[in-house]
């Protein structure tokens, strides 16, 4: 299948995502320039980590206004899978594709460390073949990953929580330990931890690969498998 990795000025995990998708998982990858608007026939869009536009107003805020974003929005509206990692997650929040907002880490410091998180929802193309409650290990590296939403919104989106930091492992003060959420349809997922940093054994964990492999299988088997596991119909509801 073909992934499109969006490159914003200041993205710095773009090469890492491309390396994992192309060299580790043997997929087609196209680079999508923030200043362009076409999505060039891709099956899945990845917004990588980094500091798009320096995160200068708020993390992801300026990037959310870049020319490529309207195409990302219509791509998402068509039900195709979109993944935002770290800064990519922040961009999706700022663009209104995902609910909530990010505050600075409670420690006011950047945190780079391995964390454990649990899979909370399998109703997304990135988690459909994982187990609910499955524990994944991958690193976080961010200064603004303290997920926030007012209480009623948090209650509303409870079913949209895709990943939660394991107990005692909340690296940033996130509301309800939220590490990743999806949209109502489930096809747009954002998470703060970095699956591309946990996709090769030499780097200490291969759990991140599960997320990429899930979407690859979801996309490539769609034509052959008439009824995908329980998640698919629900994911698109």
């Amino acid at each position: 299948m073909r992934f499109g990795v969006v490159i914003f000025p200041g993205s710095n995990c773009d090469h890492d995502c491309i390396h994992v998708l192309r060299n580790v998982l043997a997929q087609d990858v196209v680079e999508l320039w923030h200043g362009d608007s076409l999505l060039d026939d891709v099956d899945c869009v990845v917004l990588p980590g980094g500091f798009a536009y320096g995160d200068y107003l708020r993390a992801g805020a300026v990037a959310a206004t870049s020319p490529i974003m309207p195409s990302v929005k219509s791509f998402a509206a068509s039900g195709k899978p979109v993944l935002g990692i770290c800064n990519g997650f922040q961009v999706l929040l700022e663009a209104g594709l995902l609910p909530g907002a990010m505050l600075r880490n409670q420690s006011l410091q950047f945190r780079c460390r391995q964390v454990l998180m649990s899979v909370e929802s399998t109703k997304t193309p990135f988690t459909w073949n994982l187990r609910e409650g499955q524990i994944l290990q991958m690193p976080v590296a961010h200064g603004e990953g303290n997920y926030f939403a007012p209480k009623d919104l948090l209650d509303d989106i409870e079913r949209q929580v895709v990943f939660r930091y394991a107990e005692d492992a909340n690296p940033n003060g996130s509301a309800r330990f939220i590490a990743g959420v999806c949209n109502k349809a489930g096809n747009v997922v954002g998470l703060m931890p970095h699956p591309e940093r946990a996709s090769e054994a030499i780097l200490g964990s291969t759990d991140g690969r599960l997320i990429f492999e899930a979407v690859i299988e979801y996309v490539t088997s769609r034509s052959r498998v008439p009824a995908l596991p329980r998640s698919r119909a629900e994911a698109l509801r």
Binding site: P9, G10, N12, C13, H15, D16, H19, V20, N23, G35, G49, G50, F51, Y53, G54, D55, Y56, S107, Q109, F110, R111, C112, R113, P139, A141, G143, H194, E196, R197, E200, I202, L203
Partner: protein
């Protein structure tokens, strides 16, 4: 055309002496204009001109078969095989960080990254060596946390991981912290870029951020002692970094270099355009004509000397093939950066600068770029030998509580609270992260299964007591750190931090340290590929401890064959390789526990050292040992504790010694490595040690349980501590940094 009118400025006003002024007149054949004199002021400052150090530095070994670029360029470049090479360089940013810790440290990171970029390499790692006053002191804490935050802010955003470093504290650094940062870059052999301007008629292209009034005269500022009011007065000299522009500049420059149309390039760092234009033309034996009206400005009404000397960050100067300027410019603009042709290369070896249609500078580039060289007077500090006398008796201390204090001590304690603030994983190369071993290991996925290792070492405590031996020990320690991950040393870059070189005692100390590095690098056959000298590190409180710092880069041939310091498997045998006698002289134990900075550091025997490191490397590469950790600050007790803490597993050992208990536990000696090996492979390790010139090997004990217990030869326990309580003590810096 108006002619250039002679100076009305005094040489002293720009930091030069009367005889330097005479030298300028001799080189130019006339008096310089005021603007020209200001340019000489910055270019002949110690920071840019190395005038008090360059003759001494000539002794450093700078050749090796695998060296592709030695000193004299923006960074050294070393072959790592299969068409790939690494570039690396270390720089200091001490004075700016003293005045403004956050911005000073941040721009230090930006600057060193662009030195590596100037060689055509993609920056892949940063390491830093930091010195602060005691972290119990509020001012030192403020400086320390500010510097760490500045490194994090720039390094994290620019997308270059900070993978290793050291933090040492001493009251001598209270008002003058040290910020030494090194950057490592990766490149293909055939893509090495250089700074030699060439090809008359080729356009000179300015690229990057706009020019403002940042850091005017910053280079000269770095060459003065800090005085009382510096903290408030000198704000104008501190540049502000923009890591986003720094990141865009990396991508745009590498893309521009990929066209093959870039003839030469250099970072506009210290002394800005002045330095870049004069050095690039001097190195190429050509001239340049520069029109300052074409320089993209951030502020209006800047004077010619301000534009030409500005130290605004994130700017590069390129010479490109004639006809390619529009194509190259459009690459930079696509990345959202400025690009402007500001002049041309000329054949006549004259640097001509014009502003508002009038000539403002006209002189031979070498005249500016090659500062005079001095051999200052040197004199051994008379009281040095007195400090080598050790006290006859030391008060008795409980070994267990001494170990706990050492683990808590800022020089030994875990730096986790610091490196978790740095993105140490971006670029997904970091196989051994900070804290995992004495050196970081970065895989080179472009050329598997290779990896490179990098470490940084320096010790002001040892150098204050004996600069020659202390500097030698820094090199020896760096080499040991590389060996303990299984890497062969490739090269060294150094940063030499001292006081005022015109003080004969300071200069003697500097010269001894350079001699120490020279002898150690020659003996270990490691070239010094470049580096930096930072003089005038003093404050009203006095001199900083003499602090030579070395960053050493090594090659790992197969990333699967490495070791870390953590104990891995219960039942494994713990072995000490090397037999040099531990000594409390100049030790961290003596300083921290007894408050004494005394004794003469050991003169490391480099032949023995080299054979032990070769044995350790072979044991790792052949998969014999499962962990390796050299004994450094705090002696064997700290080494054992660190390996146990990292592995979250206990160990029980017996130290067969014939010294006093604290000497055996906490005494320091180079060339001692603690390794762990599975019991069935022990005979193989013994054979390996014998084959390496009969290295002494002592079986100390076994891994297991959840306590560190160390017994003496009579089997009486000296230390018995739980891993948990040691871990808590070891994480003491959390209180300071998080």
């Amino acid at each position: 055309m108006r002619t250039l009118s002679p100076s009305t400025l005094s040489p002293e006003a720009v930091g030069l002496t009367r005889s330097e002024y005479d030298e300028i007149v001799r080189r130019l054949g006339r008096d310089p204009t005021p603007l020209e004199l200001k340019l000489f002021g910055v270019m002949w400052s110690e920071h840019c001109g190395y005038k008090h150090s360059k003759l001494t530095l000539q002794s450093l070994p700078s050749s090796a078969p695998h060296l592709l670029q030695g000193p004299g360029e923006n960074a050294g470049v070393i072959d790592i095989g299969d068409g790939w090479a690494v570039a690396f360089k270390m720089e200091s940013h001490n004075h700016p960080s003293a005045v403004d810790p956050y911005n000073g440290a941040a721009t230090g990171i930006g600057g060193i990254i662009r030195d590596i970029l100037s060689m055509g390499a993609r920056p892949i790692a940063l390491v830093d060596s930091l010195r602060f006053g005691p972290l119990t002191d509020p001012k030192s804490r403020r400086i320390a946390t500010g510097i760490v935050a500045g490194i994090a802010a720039y390094g994290n955003c620019v997308g270059v991981p900070t993978v290793a470093g050291e933090i040492l504290c001493d009251p001598g650094y209270r008002d003058n912290p040290l910020v030494n940062v090194a950057c490592l870059g990766l490149l293909r052999h055939n893509r090495i870029a250089r700074s030699r301007a060439a090809g008359p008629g080729n356009p000179v292209l300015y690229a990057g951020a706009r020019t403002g009034r940042d850091g005017i005269g910053g280079a000269a500022f770095a060459s003065e002692e800090l005085h009382e009011a510096s903290e408030h007065e000198d704000r104008a000299s501190v540049q502000i970094g923009d890591p986003l522009a720094g990141k865009l500049l990396i991508e745009a420059t590498l893309e521009a270099l990929g066209t093959g149309d870039v003839v030469a390039l250099q970072d506009m760092g210290a002394a800005g355009l002045t330095c870049a234009t004069s050095e690039m033309s001097a190195r190429g034996g050509v001239g340049m004509i520069i029109d300052l009206d074409r320089v993209p400005l951030r502020e209006t009404s800047m004077r010619a000397d301000e534009i030409f000397r500005s130290e605004s960050q994130e700017r590069m100067l390129l010479v490109v093939r004639s006809g390619s300027e529009n194509r190259i410019s459009s690459i930079f603009r696509r990345w959202g950066l400025q690009a402007a042709v500001i002049g041309y290369v000329t054949a006549d070896r004259e640097l001509r600068v014009e502003y508002r249609d009038s000539p403002v500078v006209s002189l031979p580039p070498y005249a500016l770029a090659e500062a005079p060289a001095y051999r200052p007077a040197a004199c051994e500090p008379p009281e040095l030998a007195e400090q080598w006398i050790m006290p006859d008796v030391l008060p008795t201390v409980d070994p267990g509580s001494a170990l706990m204090s050492l683990l808590r001590g800022s020089d030994v304690a875990a730096k986790r609270a610091v490196f978790e603030q740095y993105d140490h994983m971006v670029q997904i190369r970091t196989v051994v992260p900070p804290g995992g071993a004495g050196a970081a290991v970065l895989r080179i996925h472009e050329s598997p299964p290779k990896a490179v290792a990098i470490t940084v070492d320096g010790n002001g405590r040892l150098c204050a007591l004996d600069p020659y031996r202390g500097a030698k020990l820094a090199v020896a320690e760096a080499a040991a750190n590389l060996a303990c991950v299984g890497a062969e040393p490739l090269g060294v870059t150094d940063c030499l931090n001292f006081g005022n070189p015109e003080d004969p005692e300071v200069f003697w100390t500097f010269r001894q340290a350079v001699m120490g590095i020279t002898d150690a690098c020659r003996a270990l056959q490691i070239p010094v590929v470049g580096g930096n000298v930072s003089f005038y590190n003093e404050s009203p409180e006095g001199l900083v401890p003499p602090t030579p710092v070395v960053a050493m880069v090594g090659l790992v041939r197969d990333v699967a064959q490495i070791a870390t310091q953590s104990f891995k498997t219960e039942g494994d045998v713990v072995v000490l390789l090397g037999s040099s006698a531990p000594d409390l002289a100049a030790s961290y134990f003596l300083e921290l526990i007894h408050g004494l900075s005394r004794g003469r550091p050991t003169d490391v025997d480099l032949t023995t050292h080299a054979s032990i490191l070769a044995a350790v490397r072979e044991a790792i590469v052949s998969g014999l040992v499962r962990s390796a950790h050299d004994c450094s600050d705090g002696g064997i007790a700290v080494a054992l504790a660190e390996s146990a803490i990292a592995g979250r597993v206990g160990v029980a050992v017996t130290l067969p010694y014939d010294h006093r208990a604290e000497v055996a536990l906490f005494g320091e000696a180079p060339s001692r490595v603690v390794v762990s090996v599975s019991p069935d492979r022990l005979p193989d390790l013994q054979i390996l040690a014998a084959n390496h010139g009969g290295i002494e090997l002592v079986v100390l004990g076994r891994i297991g349980g959840s306590r560190l217990s160390i017994a003496g030869p009579d089997a009486r326990p000296m230390i018995d501590l739980s891993i948990e309580e040691m871990s808590d003590a070891y994480e003491s810096l959390r209180e300071v940094f998080s």
